[in-house]
Symmetry: C2
Subunit: 346 residues, 2 copies
């Protein structure tokens, strides 16, 4: 196999697509997961899969909690599709492992022997499992596994740090696009910048708040309960906190006396678009990180409210985002403690 | 009635919401459409409604093309809801009329006697019809009507120009957010800027291309057919043209040798996100104007492709957008001819 494709689509894995031919790996029904590498590829020896929560839940419910049946179906999906791409939920997850071989033309920042986590979805990652998942009981999203996975030229992978537990690092990587993009957006404004984060008590929300503060902004959190308010206050995550239903546009808009320069939506429930728009000052920016965001609700909402705000689709990829997010956690003991508590609670 | 609400939510029409109380006018089931004005409101004497195409189609199909039945249902909707908000499609349309009264605290740029078009949706515009739509046969989206409509403090309204026909002006207003936002984004880059417009032959696409060129960018159009290619070339809308299916990410990415600084999606079909992302250079911007855009496909696609691109939800409101779009048309005879041909074909 050669890299085969040059130019704009180089490095996105097209030569690994078996059917239908010509689509991107994520859209493909079946990938070629053979171990032999193209010049810009990297092979990882897999040690664990982290299944996407929606995917695991669907499988577990389908099989009535029968772990052996869940395990058999995961093996069947990977065997059939050459990737762990749940055909019902459309979701995947990520994996950790050790770099086994690096193609001579790879530009990924890894070398053989590095312990890494993939930051692109399993839905586009060629994967072979060779241990029958014998070490997994099928009862958890955490799947001990042996096998190999392929990374493309344009893949995203992070080396696991020595000073933080893998579990902590993975929890941070899972939301690492948020702090990096918030940092970039906040630094694009000058003068007095205020940032409101809807869902400020969650994983991405707490990192977004912390990144905003480190970038010099005043920070405000909107949370859903008194318990979350206490948590935000106890950890000093934000300068101000309001307990408000993020789906109530009027309540969100009136949670603080003045609109924010930047509003960040980290609440994974539908219907938060209009509140975020109303809560943002003219000339400000709304960053939507929630996958529950409705494109049309955002577009038509801003138009209907005559709101001159820039609305960003929260891109989970910003160059250097994984290292940036780890650095935010290292620099902020309260956030590190928060993530450690979350990880150990699982 | 007084304006009632001050601060962040002032001017969005909350006092006009009858049920459920506390939601925004667009989300409301029923609005108060009484003629009496709050201090920041404006009343328009309606002369015509332009129903949203999806709404009219649904009504027409439902009633088997029976115009009288369609008319009766429109009257019933407006009578029940206090606005022309199709409960099935969720869509509305816009209206034209003459300003009848301006509240003393209104900041809208209109005065009594101005012939205006509303640029916010009928789904949030209080409306009373008082002629039973006697002048309408129920067979077209263009609805001659008599009645009144209410504009809020933060509404968007444009005065119809004297030098362009109302039909032409409305066709331009319908897509006027696109050229203004493209202009703003292109001018945010320095040096050599290239802009690719997916759907460059359509109304918003042709204005986006023209605005990009007027802002100094090199322009490239992706169109769906040879007929559209000829049209783009004959009217000189773009420097280069490619005939490609916008849903095919690989084909879109490879349509031109180099990625674009800015890619604008004006194709109203699902599945154009990944091609637009792939076709955009690192550090570039994708502007999604299509209501068929999937938020999650865009967010996950950019992440999966490790694409460092800024993705904008195409906000239909940019201050001055209506006047800007008319100016683009006036300055570009070929575009004006194109819009005139479209309008007269209807």
């Amino acid at each position: 196999m050669t890299s085969g494709v040059v130019g704009v689509t180089s490095g996105v894995g097209l030569p690994r697509v078996l059917e239908p031919v010509g689509v991107l790996p994520q859209a493909a029904w079946r990938l070629d997961a053979r171990a032999e590498l193209a010049a810009d590829e990297v092979r990882v020896r897999v040690s664990r899969l982290n299944l996407d929560a929606a995917s695991f839940r669907q499988l577990s419910v389908k099989h009535g909690g029968d772990g052996a049946a869940v395990r058999a179906e995961v093996l069947e999906i990977v065997g059939t599709r050459g990737k762990m791409h749940n055909p019902v939920t459309g979701s995947g997850g990520m994996l950790i492992g050790v770099v086994e071989e690096v193609g001579p033309e790879s530009l990924l920042p890894v070398k053989a022997g590095d312990r890494v986590a993939t930051l692109v979805s399993l839905t586009l990652t060629p994967l072979v499992i060779d241990d029958g998942l014998a070490g997994w009981d099928g009862l958890s999203e955490q799947v001990p596994a042996s096998g190999h996975a392929i990374l493309f030229g344009r893949s995203v992978v992070a080396v696991l740090p020595d000073d933080l537990s893998p579990e902590l690092a993975l929890a941070v990587f899972d939301v690492c696009g948020a702090p990096a993009l918030v940092d970039r957006v906040v630094r694009g404004y000058s003068g007095d910048v205020s940032v409101t984060v809807l869902g400020g008590a969650g994983k991405s929300g707490s990192l977004a708040l912390t990144a905003a503060r480190l970038a010099g902004a005043r920070t405000r959190a909107v949370v859903v309960s008194e318990a979350e308010r206490s948590m935000v206050i106890d950890h000093g995550l934000a300068d101000r906190v309001a307990v408000v239903d993020a789906r109530d546009p009027v309540a969100v808009a009136e949670a603080f006396e003045t609109p924010a320069t930047v509003t960040v939506v980290c609440v994974d429930v539908p219907g938060c678009e209009h509140g975020a728009i109303l809560a943002t000052a003219a000339g400000g920016t709304v960053i939507f990180f929630s996958m529950a965001t409705s494109f049309s609700a955002a577009a038509l909402g801003a138009e209907g409210l005559a709101a001159d705000v820039t609305m960003l689709v929260g891109n989970g990829f910003v160059p250097g985002h994984a290292a940036f997010a780890l650095d935010v956690v290292r620099r902020t003991p309260a956030v590190r403690a928060l993530f450690e508590a979350r990880v150990s609670a699982h």
